[in-house]
Amino acid sequence: MIWSRHSISSPSRADATLARITGGIALAVVILLGLVLMLLVRESWPVLVDGGWTRFFVGDGWFPSSGQFNLLAMLWATLAASLGALFVAVPLGVLSAVFSRFYSPSWLIMPLRRVMVLLAGIPSVVYGLWGLTVLVPLIANWEPPGASLLSAILILALMILPTVALTSEAALAAVATSHLQGAAALGLSRTGIVLGVALPAARVGILTGALLAAMRALGETMAVLMVAGNVVQTPSSLFDPVRVLTANIALEMPYAAGDHRAALFASGLLLMLIVTVLAWLAGRIGTHSNA
């Protein structure tokens, strides 16, 4: 920090060497990370130049063996599963954050947070296992086949709930105490304080958390792959089995070759694009709130 502008003219040779070594490492990391994008483009190049990017959005459907690479059905499935999961997880997550900030008896706050932190770290494949063995049979009893858009939504919602709850709680904790005290002094009820002061003041943090959760839901592979049924179709009801983009890559990559493999890399590129836009959006919201 303090040396940042003088490091080159620092009298110590060791320091100049250290600056050069760490700079080299940082450069290597950036190059490595640039390679990710480069390789994705390079590997999907055969399909991108041959027929252009429109072939991913027009055509009969996803029939890789006959050169039909329409990703739309899987893109809709991805968006439906992620939006559905957000629709379930955001209200529940925000309300449970409100609970631990304003309603919970004090002995309950720490255990609740520990459980949330533990759950945020549970591997997605474990959520998938539980969904496959418990949730899918339950839904199948009600409306076969069970492995469906609904089970994907519920498992994804469960997975992103801790993220939403923890970020919302942090955002609520950052609301100035004087605001809350002022609201209470004006005679607002607890409901009034929560709905009229705390939640509006914390909305930027909550929104950023929801965007993070959306990124996680869009990029999730294993949990969705295990519970969604994996039929390539545009979902028309909650009980339709669907296949999302990430699951498609995981399922077909082991045997894909040639254009098929290139098309899978292109769908990876598409996913990266969506997630990057969301990350950019989250960054913009964050900086706007500071200004």
Binding site: A26, L39, T221, F265, G268
Partner: protein
């Protein structure tokens, strides 16, 4: 009248908040109790050390644990030096445009879906560098995923060290390298360890990036260029591709979760001890 409607609103809100919290906690207790109840039956010493038999339905997870730890070891060996170097450079030696662009590329990378890292690892390590399906490929792919997390928290830890300490070190005639080694890095140790912990958690939990990089083979690996099946891949394979593998899958899942919890706790206590020793004794 007015007062009554106030009370009604309050009551309604209280009920809604309590109900949602109860729903969330209930769902998670359901999940955790299922995992424990199904998994505990499998959990014993021989399950941990013996080899899987009958496609994993019987036997244990010995070779899979070894592969998992080897993959993690490779990933850590690559992540720690690269991550520390980048974080030190970002927080001590640079500012302005180059720092911004490094941070931006790290932010983008932190959000890339793991399956995309799987594609990348497959193309770069397995095919381009000719490592094939191997523990080395898997570990290096994981390292790419861990780097953004580790660098971010290490840099945050270094930046949080008070500027006065840097002034003090400089006034005592310490070189920047010495100040880093004796003052800044020890002071940032809790953040560094916490970042490491997060990265290890992400690595152990990872499945999608490993399927096409470290592979499926469930034998005991002979070397780092052998294919090795990670614990998470084992759980996936047992539940999706092996009928009647659910019991073993739950056993493996419980082992994985216990491993994650233990690593978290050990790392937290290490961070505390390391910090108190370095700062108070010197």
């Amino acid at each position: 009248m007015l007062k009554n409607s106030f009370r009604l609103n309050d009551l309604l809100m209280t009920i809604i908040v309590w109900l949602s919290a109860a729903l969330v906690v209930g769902a998670f207790l359901w999940l955790l109790s299922d995992l424990t109840l199904h998994g505990i039956a499998k959990l014993n010493w021989s399950f941990l050390v013996s080899a899987p038999e009958n496609a994993g339905r019987d036997g244990g997870i010995g070779p899979i644990l070894v592969s998992t730890l080897l993959i993690l070891g490779v990933a850590l060996l690559a992540t720690i030096p690269l991550g520390l170097g980048t974080a030190v450079y970002l927080s001590e030696f640079t500012s302005g445009a180059s720092a911004r662009s490094i941070r931006m590329s790290l932010n983008v990378l932190a959000g890339v879906p793991s399956i995309v890292f799987g594609l990348f690892g497959n193309a770069l390590f397995c095919i381009w560098l000719g490592l094939g399906f191997s523990i080395l490929s898997g570990g290096l792919t994981l390292a790419c995923m861990m780097l953004p997390i580790f660098i971010r928290s290490t840099e945050a830890g270094l930046s949080a060290v008070a500027t006065e300490w840097r002034h003090g070190a400089a006034a005592l005639g310490l070189t920047q390298a010495a100040a880093l080694w004796h003052v800044l890095l020890p002071a940032a140790a809790p953040a560094i360890i916490a970042g490491l912990m997060l990265s290890i958690g992400r690595a152990l939990a990872e499945t999608a990036a490993l399927i096409f990089t470290s592979g499926y083979v469930d034998r005991m690996p002979d070397s780092l260029s052998d294919s090795g099946r990670a614990l998470s891949v084992h759980i996936y394979d047992l539940s999706m591709n092996v009928t009647g593998g659910d019991q073993s899958a739950y056993g493996s899942a419980l082992v994985l979760i216990i491993l994650l919890v233990v690593i978290n706790n050990v790392a937290a206590s290490l961070a505390n001890r390391f910090l108190s020793q370095r700062i108070t004794s010197s």
